[in-house]
């Protein structure tokens, strides 16, 4: 029964562990889909920047209402969308502007920290930076589940244009699919980041989104299969990270992100060596 004590008991006995688990499972569903498209569009850096763009708005929400999950989300969503629009305008029609994107990230992060520290304590600052996955209440849980359901439904409805637009946007425009799918996708990314922000904070929000997707991408599957595998990796990392953090008395958000990073490393090493070995085996046979 050692396995039971190790794996099941923490969730059986502690309500906050159960809430954290359910939140992470809901997030894994939307993260698998959004993260896969983000990686395929080669927009990982944009995702990271938008993750921090949530910060100043969340901080304003915090100043207004204290650590209320609703106001943190509303503020975060507003500033995330504002920065996405601004970055879209500034970089439109030009070559990628990495310095500009990173500039946004630094300014947004610093502004957010200053705003929170102005009225709050160091603990509050730590919460917005790294999240509070073990302190998710029912209201926050409902919000996370609602937002990630919305995202999954949105991607299911717009799957083909989003997938095609990722590799041949000119084709999409030439066949007359002129809806701004790129902008719609950015909105979905910001929504997902806001949902992740509650659990993982501004510094780690993009981690559970990108790392499982990057790990799944290693295996060279099709788009839909990559999304499913990324979701599976996300679930595994959530359960593993939560258990490690519980037994080792470690911070849980970083533990989950580390577990996802470990899955990425394992995937990269295995698929990399398979690729190198395959021609040798073929030669021997």
């Amino acid at each position: 029964m050692a396995a039971h004590a190790l794996i099941v008991e923490p969730f059986e006995t502690l309500a906050f562990m159960r809430a954290a688990l359910v939140a992470c499972l809901a997030l894994a569903l939307s993260n698998g889909a959004v993260g896969t498209l983000l990686v395929l569009r080669r927009m990982s850096l944009d995702g990271d920047v938008l993750g921090h763009a949530v910060m100043p708005g969340a901080a304003v929400g915090f100043l207004y209402a204290g650590p209320s999950p609703t106001w943190l989300s509303v503020g975060g969503l507003a500033s995330g969308l504002a920065v996405a629009a601004l970055a879209g305008i500034i970089t439109s029609g030009r070559a990628r502007h990495d310095a500009g994107l990173v500039g946004f990230y630094l300014v947004a992060l610093s502004l957010g920290v200053i705003l929170v520290a102005w009225r709050g304590s160091n603990v509050d600052v730590m919460h917005v930076l790294f999240g509070t996955v073990l302190a998710i209440d029912q209201q926050a849980l409902l919000q996370i589940a609602g937002v990630s359901s919305l995202i999954v439904l949105g991607i299911a409805a717009l799957y083909r244009p989003l997938a095609v637009g990722a590799f041949d946007p000119a084709f999409l425009r030439a066949v007359g699919a002129r809806a701004p799918y790129g902008a719609v996708f950015l909105v979905l990314v910001v929504l997902d980041l806001v949902a992740n922000f509650q659990a993982f904070g501004t510094l780690l929000a993009v981690g559970p989104m990108l790392l499982p997707a990057a790990a799944a991408r290693c295996w060279g599957l099709g788009v839909a299969a990559s999304m499913a595998l990324a979701t599976g990796f996300g679930l595994t990392a959530s359960v593993g990270g939560l258990l490690v953090s519980y037994h080792g008395n470690l911070p849980s958000g970083p533990a989950i992100v580390l577990a996802a990073g470990l899955l990425f490393a394992i995937s990269a090493v295995i698929t990399g060596s398979l690729r190198r070995l395959a021609p040798m085996i073929a030669r021997d046979v």
Partner: protein
């Protein structure tokens, strides 16, 4: 082809920021014509096709053509070959106008995919991913996608760049077939001997339209 494949340009101008890529180009590609677009690097050839396809915005002027009757082949470099897509899925996208963004491609689209792959010599490659095939095979697959699009106007941006000789001959045959079917074909090309031998009309661009008409009349403007 029953649809009207005429493309009329009226003073079209395209700018990238402050740089003028194409200035006040006017004229008409007659329905069923086969035209080569030639010019030096940076002359606005690709921009012209993208403008007709509606992929880049016009700063001024009007493109008058049957918008829903148009198929566009971008330069190969614009395609992300790391993307997880099979040759068959890529070709089938050509049926987009039938199944749109939401419906599933029917059996008819699947049958046409196999037939189009056959025509460009890709029959055995349908299940490969686009990252595994050669550049020439990718261009063949993109041609098969154009076949499925069944458009009255076909725009080809450097269809023979970085492609082996055997593939060029297969693709050229397909272009001639489109021409015989009465479709309007406009192709950006660099090989002037090829233009002289196979393309009845030529447009010479140098940001403005320098010459446009029968190849034997227009092409000398390029060589000069």
């Amino acid at each position: 082809m029953e649809a009207d494949g005429r493309v009329r340009l009226r003073d079209i101008t395209v700018r990238y920021g402050r740089r003028v890529a194409l200035e006040a180009v006017s004229g008409e590609f007659v329905a069923g014509s086969l035209t080569a677009v030639v010019g030096a690097n940076g002359a606005g050839k690709s921009t012209l096709l993208a403008a007709i396809a509606g992929v880049v915005p016009l700063a001024a002027g009007v493109v008058d053509c049957p918008a829903r009757q148009l198929a566009y082949l971008p330069q190969l470099a614009a395609i992300d070959r790391g993307y997880p897509l099979t040759v068959s899925e890529l070709i089938m996208l050509g049926g987009w106008r039938e199944f749109g963004p939401f419906r599933s491609p029917g059996t008819a689209a699947r049958a046409r995919t196999v037939a189009a792959a056959d025509m460009v010599g890709l029959a055995g490659r349908l299940r490969r991913s686009i990252g595994e095939i050669s550049v020439g095979e990718l261009q063949r697959a993109l041609f098969a996608r154009l076949i499925l699009q069944n458009a009255a106007v076909i725009l080809l941006d450097e269809p023979f760049a970085a492609v082996d000789a055997q593939t060029i001959s297969v693709l050229l045959d397909q272009i001639i077939r489109w021409h015989q079917e009465g479709r309007t074909v406009i192709a950006v090309l660099h090989d002037l001997d090829l233009v002289r031998a196979r393309f009845p009309s030529t447009m010479v661009l140098a940001r403005r339209c320098v010459a446009w008409g029968a190849t034997e009349v227009a092409l000398p403007a390029m060589v000069a």
